[in-house]
Amino acid sequence: MVGSFGPIVIAIAIATAFGLLPLFLSGLIIPKMPDRVKNAPYECGVETIGPTSIQFHTRYYLYALLFVIFDVEAVFLFPWAVAYRHLGLFALTEVVIFIGLLLVGYVYAWRKGALQWV
């Protein structure tokens, strides 16, 4: 057990040292002359205006939820489509039932007004 995992443990140790050692060494030898600009957090792009935490409308949540369902549906459809020729009629029936069930939910959400932006 230990023998077969030995190289991995050594690799992890070397990788960690490789990352941390330069930071430690440069920390030892660099000249330290901090000023206001140097201490500011590094960032790319334009400085933000106003508070950065804003509130999203909860309505987005409903759309996201509905989106995820159909997103996952697509994920399931890709492998089915690739293997379609081998699977035949049985898989076709299954996929039709699967989409049918999702449609029931979709129709329900639609008729209940979940897609209306009030």
Partner: protein, 476 residues
């Protein structure tokens, strides 16, 4: 591959889809009676598939042995269908008030039942886990169903998070078991486990028991139970306390009996300790509760303890006793909860002290609740008495005398708080007459449940025979 074996579950799913579509196309105002009729139809069709399968008596399996149908699974499925039907009958006024959203509730209940039915039939760990998650997810929605009430939202969130934690623990157990044996089929695992208990196997066993212990709210994994039971809508609490619990026990006995007979001495010890702690803590904490739903939540924890005594017995007789206990417990708890739905609705309070003088205001409700509580306490000739006798008898024969002694002591303790409610209803004078008449559906549901409590008690020999026959098919 035999898809027809899934017909009972598919019928329930189809009923749920039909209810949702009907609601969608009736301008969001499908009547309560129409929804209940559709749900009843779905349940009846499902039962109509199960009963011939039971009479045929031939165990069938499908999906490479991941799904099995035999006497054991059919017993549990019929029990859960009955429980679902009674809960729907009992939720009459609650549904009547929930304009526009009631179809969702009924559809979710049907889908949960379908998932629980899949669960009792799974003989493979992945199928088992997925069915469990299906049931838990819809349960979380049901608990949070009154989303504008803080309590209900809290119940849903609490259930969701703690359930996720327990599922993670369960998955660790499953992963370890798979790592040890290279199998996910339960009987395959039993085949591979020949060497006896290794540390890894014991760890897997402990993790599995912790995961399943959460589902049946065994102490110390019971923390969610009182809060969720109190916050969830009362009909849903009734549903949770019977259907989910029955399925949880079905899974525990199946996994222990078919996958882990090799470490029976170890799990008998663990289950016995769980049983002892569960019934003691449940009963002692129930004594100080003032909210009737919280009290009954701790009471169901205590009941889970008694059932675990039967699981610990581990013999065929013990299994039969567990199955009989679950039937008796289902009838009794439904009786109590349906009565409480109506009483709380009329008095507008769930406090035990507000039940004062109920026998003068609503004699039938008071009688039904009193009978249910006495049956929970285990008084003859009610169902609860014989259920306890069978469980304890099976445990004595396998040398668990100390556990039985503790169980008897606990029953005596439990009588204290059950009797307190009865005392309030019958001895304390009524403050004011409460208005209102019960819906006929609720009265029917309550009557069936109470009739069940009496029938399971008086004809206990016959029903115990049925339970033992069903239990025997598990280990075949």
């Amino acid at each position: 591959m035999n898809v027809a074996i899934l017909s009972p579950e598919i019928s329930l799913g189809a009923a749920a889809a039909v209810i949702l579509l009907a609601e969608a196309f009736s301008a969001g105002n499908l009547s309560r009676v129409a929804i209940l009729a559709l749900a009843t139809l779905g349940i009846a069709v499902s039962a109509a598939f199960l009963i011939p399968a039971q009479l045929a008596g031939v165990p069938t399996s499908s999906f490479s042995g991941a799904f099995i149908q035999n006497g054991f699974t059919i017993y549990f499925k019929l029990l859960m269908l009955m429980a679902t039907f009674l809960v729907l009958l009992g939720s009459g006024r609650f549904l009547a008030q929930a304009e526009g959203r009631r179809a969702e509730l009924v559809a979710l209940v049907l889908l949960t039942t379908a998932a629980l039915m899949l669960l009792v039939s799974s003989t493979e760990l992945i199928t088992l886990y997925i069915s469990l998650e299906m049931a838990s997810l819809s349960t979380a929605f049901l608990a949070a169903w009154m989303k504008h009430q803080e309590r209900s939202a809290e119940a849903g969130l609490k259930f969701f998070l703690l359930n996720a934690l327990s599922s993670a623990v369960l998955l660790y157990g499953i992963a370890l078991l798979y790592g040890i044996t290279g199998q996910t089929q339960l009987n395959g695992i039993a085949r591979e486990l020949v060497g006896g208990a290794t540390p890894a196997l014991l760890l897997a066993l402990a993790l599995l028991l912790a995961g399943f212990g959460f589902k049946v709210s065994a102490v110390p994994f019971h923390m969610w139970t009182p809060d969720v039971y109190e916050g969830a809508p009362t009909p849903i609490t009734a549903y949770l306390s019977v259907a989910s619990k029955a399925a949880g026990f079905a899974v525990i006995v199946r996994v222990l009996q078919t996958a882990l007979p090799g470490v029976q001495t170890e799990w008998v010890g663990l289950i016995a300790i769980l049983a002892a702690v569960t019934m003691t803590v449940g009963n002692i904490v129930a004594m100080v509760q003032t909210n009737i739903k919280r009290m009954l939540a701790y009471s169901t924890i205590a009941q889970a303890g008694y059932i675990l005594v039967g699981v610990a017995a581990g013999t065929g007789q013990g299994l039969g006793a567990v199955l009989f206990y679950l039937a008796a417990y289902t009838a009794t708890n439904l009786g109590a909860f349906i009565a409480i739905v109506e009483i709380a609705d009329r008095t507008g309070s769930e406090r035990t002290s507000d039940f004062a003088g109920l026998h003068a205001r609503a004699p039938w409700l008071a009688f039904a609740l009193a009978i249910s509580l006495l049956s929970l306490a285990g008084l003859p000739p009610l169902a609860g008495f014989f259920a306890k006798i069978y469980v304890f008898w099976a445990a004595i024969q396998t040398g668990l005398g100390w556990l039985v002694l503790l169980g008897v002591l606990n029953s005596a303790i439990s009588l204290f708080y059950y009797a307190q409610v009865i005392h309030h209803m019958y001895m304390v004078p009524a403050p004011s007459p409460a208005p209102g008449r019960s819906l006929p559906t609720l009265v029917a549901g309550l009557t069936v449940a109470i009739a069940g409590v009496f029938a399971l008690g008086i004809f206990s020999g016959f029903f115990m025979g049925l339970a033992e026959t069903a239990a025997r098919t598990l280990t075949q």
